[in-house]
């Protein structure tokens, strides 16, 4: 059911910095994601996670530093070019196209690699089936539930056939069972297509279950990185983000 050939890419972020008039939102952040890996980006609110995503996806120009996909720098490219280079992203606050149907929302993503409307809609339907939204394909985004709109956001990003998928808090607001289903979907996707995934997530249940590697940001800086087990035992991370309570 997961269509398409295997696709994967490595991501390298080097010294990435973004200043907003005096405030350094992202401060010399560096990390590397090997092809096919799943990395999580965690940290308290305002740590610079989404700003980092915006710079990777081209929505925001870095003040300095570099982002490269499979060794090719993405800095200076437009968001649509970066998308076609193989980076699919979702938005933290869902941004569906409200006046077109669910399937057409997803077809927009597929049109980045085909000009054939029928093929785009067929692929869109595959993505909707993957995320359990196929029965709502003819609905307008405004008439489906928020968890469904989150899935729609993911389906649209997947339809662009990304080599690297950037997921910005797609599991926030989902019920635990829905989270588990989403986690299972990403796992399968990653296993079957090899797609590299970087996710920003506060739902530790999902972070622990999915990611191979975790990068922790605080005040724009990387304060820790490692396996989920290492990171959750790191005293700095516990102090600034996770707190001392037990993890589920």
């Amino acid at each position: 059911m997961i269509a398409g050939a295997p696709r994967s890419a490595s991501l390298k972020v080097e010294g990435l910095t973004r200043r907003f008039s005096g405030l350094t939102a992202v401060d010399y952040v560096s990390f590397e994601v090997p092809p096919g890996a799943i990395h999580a980006l965690i940290g308290p609110n305002g740590a610079g996670k989404t700003t980092t995503f915006n710079m990777i996806a081209g929505a925001l120009k870095p003040t300095s530093g570099d982002v490269s996909l499979d060794g090719h720098s993405l800095v200076g490219m437009r968001p649509d070019e970066i998308c076609r280079a193989g980076v699919g992203r979702t938005f933290q606050v869902v941004r569906p196209f409200n006046a077109i149907t669910v399937i057409d929302n997803v077809a927009v993503g597929a049109l980045s690699w085909t000009s054939d409307m029928a093929a785009a809609r067929r692929y869109a339907l595959d993505m909707l089936e993957l995320l359990g939204l196929a029965d709502k394909r003819n609905a307008l985004p405004g008439s489906i539930t928020l968890p469904d709109r989150k899935c729609l956001e993911v389906a649209r990003a997947l339809a662009t056939k990304p080599k690297l998928l950037l997921l910005d808090e797609v599991m926030a607001g989902l019920r635990p069972t829905e989270t588990d289903r989403m986690v299972a979907t990403f796992r399968r996707l990653n296993k079957e297509t090899g797609v590299t995934i970087v996710l920003i997530e506060h739902v530790m249940r999902a972070v622990m279950a999915l990611s191979h590697h975790v990068v922790v940001l605080n005040y724009g800086k990387v304060i820790a990185q490692g396996t989920p087990e290492q990171v959750t035992r790191n005293p700095d991370v516990l102090a600034c983000y996770l707190g001392a309570e037990e993890l589920s």
């Binding site: 437009r78 649509d80 070019e81 998308c83 409200n98 057409d104 927009v108």
Partner: protein
């Protein structure tokens, strides 16, 4: 091609559309000269409204200066005809080239420098106004005294030079309106149309999904200004006189889009329905109150209509009527 046009349309929508087309095609045989002239103006507004709707309703780019493209089309073809005797069939090529070029200049400035929303609309107004002033001061184009096309014996039809009775212009604008409807339907169901709608609904999300914003917005402005330029040529040869202030004025641009606003922005049949409601009502009101000498009664009435629409049917009359006729959810030749 035919399948792509009718795909997804319920049979009753097709039947209604065919009946409507038949009535419009037969209208000159039973309508009086006066009714015919009202229909001609209505269709003109329907056609330009369709062209304007392509930009705002499909691609989300608001122009309040569409009279500019009418004016460029009209003046180009009229000047070529009066000064050099160039046939409008040749003149239309130059007219469309110039109005498209102007559209692309405005689009380039707006989209390259991220002038969005109302600021983009202001840019379109500015271009329309200063072009009007330039024409006003250009003797070759008749200046403020106006440009007049030579009228030969009005009874005969000279197709080559578009000289003839109103019925000739009726069929021309009817064909243009029908063609624009088909074109818009084809475009809306293509990659282009889907990309436009994505840009209209959320431009950042569209860009993140691989839509090159600049290119697709430019295509929208180019097609819209080209179609409007064609309308300008028709306008010049129908009216036979052109005055800068009544051609390029912002009031003109507003008048061009009122029908679409009332009929339903972003719908395919809205521009036609809106023009066929507003124009005849406006004309009727002018006729009824002609003895009372009330200046601007039509404008006042149109303002009233827009307020009523905004308050009660913000998405326009057509979506509501389509729902009533059970034609909605058809994504169609006359639905959304």
């Amino acid at each position: 091609m035919i399948a792509r046009l009718t795909d997804g349309l319920p049979p009753r929508a097709l039947a209604l559309l065919a009946a409507f087309a038949a009535v419009m095609a037969a209208a000159p045989f039973f309508a009086s000269d006066y009714v015919l002239s009202v229909l001609i103006i209505s269709l003109y507004f329907a056609f330009v409204g369709q062209a304007w709707n392509l930009m705002l309703g499909f691609a989300g780019q608001l122009s309040l200066g569409h009279a500019l493209f009418v004016g460029i089309g009209a003046y180009t073809s009229a000047a070529l005809f009066t000064h050099f005797g160039v046939s409008p069939w040749v003149g239309v090529v130059a007219a469309v080239a110039l109005s498209t070029l102007m559209g692309c200049v405005i689009g380039y400035l707006g989209f390259r420098f991220s002038i969005r929303g109302v600021y983009f609309a202001l840019l379109t107004i500015a271009f329309a106004e200063f072009t009007g002033i330039m024409v006003d001061n250009n003797a070759w184009l008749g200046g403020s005294a106006g440009l007049f096309l030579p009228v030969k014996n009005a009874g005969s039809i000279d197709l080559l030079n578009l000289r003839g009775p109103p019925v000739l212009f009726y069929y021309m604008i009817l064909i243009l309106t029908g063609a624009a409807l088909l074109l818009c339907r084809l475009l809306l169901n293509s990659k282009l149309g889907l990309y436009w709608q994505a840009i209209r609904d959320d431009q950042e999300a569209a860009e993140a999904a691989g839509v090159p914003l600049f290119r697709y917005k430019m295509i929208a402005v180019a097609i819209s200004s080209a179609l409007t330029g064609v309308a300008g040529v028709w306008y010049a040869f129908y009216y036979n006189n052109l005055f800068p202030e009544s051609t390029f004025a912002t009031g003109r641009s507003i008048e061009l889009i009122l029908g679409t606003v009332v009929g339903g922005v972003g719908t395919l049949f809205g521009p036609i329905l809106g023009a066929l409601i507003l124009t005849p009502l406006g004309e009727l009101l002018t006729e009824l109150t002609s003895g009372l000498q009330i200046d601007g009664i039509k404008t006042f009435f149109w303002g009233f209509c827009v307020v009523a629409i905004v308050l009660f049917r913000p998405s326009g009359v057509w979506p509501w009527l389509a729902g009533l006729l059970k034609l909605d959810r058809s994504t169609g030749g006359d639905g959304r």
